[in-house]
Amino acid sequence: MAETLLDIAMMHSDSLIARAREGDKNAQGKLVQLWYKRIYNFSYKFFFDHDLAMEVSQKTFISMHKNLAGLQEVARFKSWLYTIAVNYCREETRKKKASRSFSLHDLNPGEGEESYRWEESHHRNENPERQLRHSELSDLLQSCLMELSHEQREVVIMKEYEGLKFREIAEALNISENTVKSRMYYGLDGLKKILEQKKITKETIGYEL
């Protein structure tokens, strides 16, 4: 995956984190700008729900603002931030189980111009048909991801989409690296079976796109 300017900025954000930890409001604001998209996407892939992802993202950054002064090592900021996000994801999952509510996004609004996928698209310069297919494929893969257990899903998202190292995932989840790898193995194995069931392969995807 090619490094974007955002990725480079995130990697070189040590001084920013140090300043934010000392109470620099401007630095804290910049940190939010840098990490918001990552935390939102992590939460979105975890829940497949925009509202819950927004909720978790906001709570995560409020918590970051409150507790940043207590962060011991700047180098551990990434795993520390994901720890907060994972904890809020788990909390929301418990709440969701208790209330059994569902998001309006769970409803299929149908195809064509009425579809919310059009509203969510930001790549307006792309071919609309191709863009819609990408969006549909994303949702399909997302639904496959949702069939994994919470533990496996957390690890797969962190490794495959958030690009965390196994060590960082272990730190974020407070488990051993071997456990992370084991969950990853069973997660990928589970995904393979799910994709096979839905007849999604590299070839079919290539044909669709």
């Binding site: 409001k25 804290q28 604001g29 939010v32 700008q33 918001y36 998209k37 939102y40 996407n41 979105y44 892939k45 925009h50 992802a53 927004m54 993202s57 906001q58 950054f61 603002h65 969510e120 930001h122 990408h134 969006s135 494929l137 994303s138 893969l141 997302q142 496959c144 991801l145 797969v156 490794k159 495959e160 989409y161 196994f166 690296e177 071997n178 790898k181 084991s182 990853m184 193995y185 069973y186 990928l188 194995d189 995904l191 393979k192 994709l195 999604i200 392969t201 590299k202 995807i205 796109l209």
Partner: protein, 273 residues
Amino acid sequence: MNYKPDESTLIAFLYGELNEKETKKLEAYFQQHPEELAKLRGMDEVREVMSHAQDKEVIAPPVFVDETGIKPLWQSSYLRVSMGMAASILFLLVAGKLLGPEINYSNGELRISFGKKAEQPMQPAGLTEEKVNELISSSLAKNNESLASTRTEDQKKLMQTLVDFNSKKMNELTKTASQASQEQVRSFVSNLQEQNLKLMKDYFQLSTADQKKYMESLLVDFSSYLQEQRKQDLQYVQTRVNSLEKNNNQFKQETEQILTSLISNPGKKKNNY
């Protein structure tokens, strides 16, 4: 060979995080168990397929820092409570001062009163209303009699004193007037004239000195005003000259630029379509 890699080793191999020794060991294992390698390749394919799940675009909301935790001293609850108590006590003190409350306990009777205690008239025992009236009327009659006698005596004395005093004064005045000679009157008049003359002289002298001072200051002020005016006029003229010079330079530069432009683009045609 009983070697069987665990899941973590296989995943480390899949992500290329296995050391060389372990990798060789695993490759040897795969040669004997190609189904395991196929399984790993299947997982790699899963990774590739799953990578098509796109990120959602989201705009980070603006950050608002809640500063309500730091309250100024006057908004702290402790200060408010203590101020409230102090205000209540002050109110009670002021009310007490104004109303003057008095609490008494005597003969098994608790009495709370406000304001000054009403003085009760002492009534001597054994006196009836008639007796009192009689005493008052007799006392008043006596008093009136004594007052009348005193007044007539005083009037007489006063009249006598006035008559004595006036006649004495008149006598003295007549005596003094008759004793004053013609020379004394003349000297008094001349003295009076001299004094008046001196006064007038002083007045004119003082007046002339003040007027002189005033005129001098007026002349000085006028000359300084003229100098200032001249200075300002000169400055204005200087500014105008500078401005003209500047405009001239600018005009020169513009002309040079136009000329340069004409010289450097000789073949350029102007299109209006």
